[in-house]
C-alpha cells in the first residue's frame, strides 16, 4: 500500500480545518482531462463532507504530455502569494481548454492581479516548489493524475462522488473511533 511520504504541512494549499478527521490529498495536473473530470466531483464531495474534510492540492504536472501544465501550475502558485490559490485553481479547472500563456494573463487580470506579477510567475521562481511536490508524489506512489490519498493512504478505488463520500465517511469514523483528528 503506497503512503504519502510528505506529511501535509503549512506549506500546502489546503481547504478545511487543520484538525479535520479526514484529509484528502490530490496530486493533480491542471491540463489533465481526468483531473478536470474529478474537479466538480471533488467540489461536491467537499460540500457534502463539510468541516469533516480537509482538502489539499499538490502539483503533479505531466509536462511531456501536457505542454501547458507547468505554466498553469506556476500561475496557481503565483496566485497563492496573493492569497488567491483556490480561486486560481478553480479558474484553471473551469477553463481547461484555454491554458495558453495569454489565457493565464487574462485569468490573472480577472483575479485582480497586476500583470507584471502574473508574468513574473513564468520565470521559474515557483519551479522548485512544483518539482518538490512532484518528487514527493513520485515517492509516495502517485501513479497518474489525479492520484488521491485519504489520510495518507493511496486510494485506487472508483472516483464518483458516492464512492468517495462513502470511503471518506469510513475514514472519518475510523479516525473518530481512534480518538484522533
Amino acid at each position: 500500500m503506497s503512503r504519502l511520504s510528505i506529511p501535509v504541512s503549512a506549506s500546502d494549499h489546503a481547504q478545511g480545518a487543520d484538525n479535520a478527521a479526514v484529509t484528502l490529498v490530490e496530486y493533480g495536473d491542471y491540463q489533465c482531462p481526468h483531473c478536470g473530470e474529478a474537479y466538480p466531483i471533488l467540489k461536491a464531495v467537499q460540500r457534502t463532507m463539510g468541516d469533516g474534510l480537509r482538502f489539499v492540492f499538490r502539483n503533479f504536472p505531466l509536462t511531456e504530455m501536457h505542454p501547458h501544465a507547468l505554466r498553469a501550475a506556476e500561475f496557481a502558485e503565483m496566485a497563492a502569494g496573493a492569497g488567491l490559490f483556490w480561486q486560481a485553481h478553480d479558474l484553471l479547472y473551469e477553463n481547461q481548454e484555454a491554458l495558453g500563456e495569454r489565457d493565464l494573463l487574462a485569468y490573472g487580470h480577472r483575479l485582480g492581479l497586476p500583470s507584471d506579477v502574473v508574468a513574473g510567475a513564468f520565470d521559474g521562481r515557483f519551479d522548485q516548489k512544483i518539482r518538490d511536490d512532484f518528487r514527493g508524489g513520485v515517492r509516495s506512489g502517485v501513479n497518474g493524475t489525479p492520484t488521491l490519498f485519504i489520510n495518507g493512504l493511496r486510494y485506487d478505488g472508483p472516483r464518483d462522488a458516492d464512492s468517495l463520500i462513502m470511503i471518506l465517511r469510513q475514514a472519518e469514523a475510523l479516525s473518530s473511533a481512534a480518538g484522533g483528528g
Binding site: 495536473d29 513520485v138 506512489g141 485506487d156
Partner: protein, 169 residues
C-alpha cells in the same frame, strides 16, 4: 509495498534471465548491453492504455529520477515493434520499449510473468543490479499502475549498498 505476487514471478536474489529483444525494427537490446548499471524492467500488458494513468507515460515523466540513481529503464510487452514505435512516438517516450513478440511472451515466461490465458504479460517490475541480480520485484494487479515508489526505493537500496549515493539535482 503490497502484494499480489504470483509464485511464478522471479524474486529478489535470482539471477536475471538474459534476453535479446527488438526495440525498433533494426535495433536489438540485450540485457548484457545494459550491464554495469541498474536496470528497471517494466513488463506491462499492452501499448495504448488510457493516457493520464498510463504507467509508461508516468515513467517517461520521471526518467530523470531513475537516471539520477544511475538506472536505465526498459518497457516490455508482447506488442510488436511497429506498435511500440507508434506508441512511443505518440506519447513522446524517451526510453526503449522491447517487443516480446516472437516467440510470443518468451522473455515474460522466463521471468514468470506471462499470463497464458490472455496472452499478455503481467504488470510486473524488476529492478536488476549492475551484476545482473534481481534486487526487487513486484507484480501489480493488471488494472493498477504501480507507480514508481517501489522502484526508487530499490534503486536507493542498491546505491546505498554500493556506496554510490548520487542524488538528483
Amino acid at each position: 509495498m503490497s502484494s499480489h505476487q504470483p509464485d511464478a514471478a522471479l524474486r529478489a536474489g535470482a539471477t536475471a534471465p538474459a534476453f535479446s529483444l527488438p526495440a525498433t525494427p533494426d535495433q536489438i537490446i540485450s540485457l548484457g548491453d545494459l550491464r554495469g548499471s541498474p536496470v528497471i524492467l517494466a513488463f506491462y500488458p499492452a501499448d495504448w492504455s488510457p493516457v493520464c494513468g498510463d504507467q509508461m507515460a508516468l515513467y517517461n515523466e520521471i526518467l530523470s529520477e531513475f537516471r539520477g540513481l544511475g538506472a536505465q529503464l526498459v518497457g516490455i510487452s508482447v506488442d510488436g515493434v511497429w506498435c511500440h514505435a507508434a506508441f512511443a512516438a505518440e506519447r513522446k517516450l524517451h526510453f526503449p520499449l522491447l517487443a516480446d513478440f516472437e516467440p510470443k511472451g518468451d522473455v515474460a515466461r522466463r521471468y514468470g510473468v506471462y499470463r497464458e490465458k490472455e496472452g499478455i504479460t503481467e504488470r510486473a517490475l524488476f529492478v536488476i543490479d549492475a551484476d545482473g541480480v534481481i534486487r526487487w520485484s513486484h507484480v501489480s494487479p493488471l488494472g493498477i499502475n504501480p507507480g514508481a515508489d517501489g522502484i526508487l526505493k530499490a534503486l536507493q537500496d542498491i546505491a546505498a549498498s554500493t556506496g554510490k549515493t548520487e542524488t538528483v539535482a
